[in-house]
């Protein structure tokens, strides 16, 4: 995927943010330049090393250090969301004092894998995933029955997002 010189994004006009001072130039380079296009060849770290003019062992050690420090989760493929199964983004409007208890109840469903607070009238947001649509609706109905609250059910209709990685210091 090539980067064009035509200004099509507001981000292109944004002032650069400072990188954390504790990161070395090689760390910053590996974090920013290799989120996509990682070589699929027999010795990928040697190829990166050649591109950056550093020893292969330093590339491997630096990535291991970033992983060990919790700054990267892994080096490898990012998969497109599974098309099998059914899921939805759901929200509840919960009064402040009830929020922890309702959130805890929602979190206990195996079908819920993200559940978090947002600053809005709809203040509890969660993702429900099940083998089929009936499974998703069953969880939503159960939550409505147990909380007495109407669930906002917002299934995905279309994704515009192309995952090119997360730009740091942009």
């Amino acid at each position: 995927m090539s980067i064009t010189n035509i200004k099509t994004r507001a981000d292109d006009t944004a002032a650069a943010l400072d990188a954390p001072a504790s990161l070395t130039p090689l760390e910053k380079c590996l974090l920013n330049e290799y989120q996509r296009g990682f070589p699929v060849c027999a010795e990928p770290f040697a190829e990166i090393a050649a591109q950056q003019d550093v020893p292969e062992a330093q590339v491997i050690a630096t990535l291991a250090s970033l992983q060990q420090r919790g700054l990267i989760s892994r080096v490898g493929p990012v998969f497109a969301p599974l098309r099998a199964g059914a899921s939805t983004l759901a929200a509840l409007s919960v009064t402040g004092d009830r929020l922890p208890a309702v959130a805890d109840m929602v979190s206990r469903y195996d079908e819920v894998n993200h559940n978090y607070e947002r600053e809005h009238h709809y203040n509890l947001w969660f993702v429900v995933t099940a083998a089929d649509e009936a499974g998703v609706q069953g969880v939503l109905e159960d939550i409505e029955m147990r909380t007495g609250l109407a669930v906002l059910d917002l299934p995905l209709e279309q994704s515009f997002y192309i995952d090119l990685g997360f730009p740091l210091w942009c």
Partner: protein
């Protein structure tokens, strides 16, 4: 695309990340009983098919200091949602950009995107730049900053618990 049983084994072996060794593909191919060349060829195919969205370093943006995260929701005329969705998705600090149904009268918004930044004001500045740059001033939108996280569990792409380091998905 239909995944073969071997594809599932391949994905299970690689979804937790490549081993940080000189020949990571050979190491994985060896575990699967295939040749390094066959594995790399299949990975390239999965990339061109779109099942693998990208190969590379997967950063943890919160750990790198990108603590603020806002879900920005927009009410876009249906005939314009494709155009605006594509514009927002191309912005570098936008992660995720989805069309979802309105639920009137409670919920008038049909386009959702996520903006990350080091802190709240940085996210709001970035949003203001996007609105101005693309001339979106007339489109109603709302900003929902994240609060407490009650549950966060990454979904495994294919289940094979015994071969996966749990920490890589936490």
């Amino acid at each position: 695309m239909v995944l073969s049983e071997l594809d599932r084994e391949l994905i299970a072996e690689i979804q937790g990340g490549l081993p940080l060794v000189a020949r990571p593909y050979a190491a994985i191919a060896n575990r699967l009983g295939m040749t390094e060349e066959t594995l790399m060829a299949r990975l390239r195919e999965l990339q061109s098919d779109g099942l693998i969205k990208r190969m590379g370093v997967v950063v943890k943006h919160r750990a790198l200091g990108y603590q603020a995260n806002a879900m920005v929701v927009w009410d876009i005329p249906d005939e314009d949602v494709e155009r605006v969705g594509a514009l927002l998705a191309a912005e570098t600090c936008v992660t995720l950009c989805y069309q979802r149904p309105r639920r009137l009268p409670q919920w008038p918004y049909n386009l959702f995107c996520m903006i990350h930044g080091r802190e709240r004001n940085a996210v709001l500045r970035r949003l203001a730049q996007i609105v101005e740059f693309h001339g979106l001033q007339q489109l109603p939108h709302s900003v929902l900053f994240s609060g407490r996280s009650f549950k966060q569990r990454g979904a495994h792409y294919v289940a094979r618990e015994d071969s996966l380091p749990r920490s890589a998905h936490g």
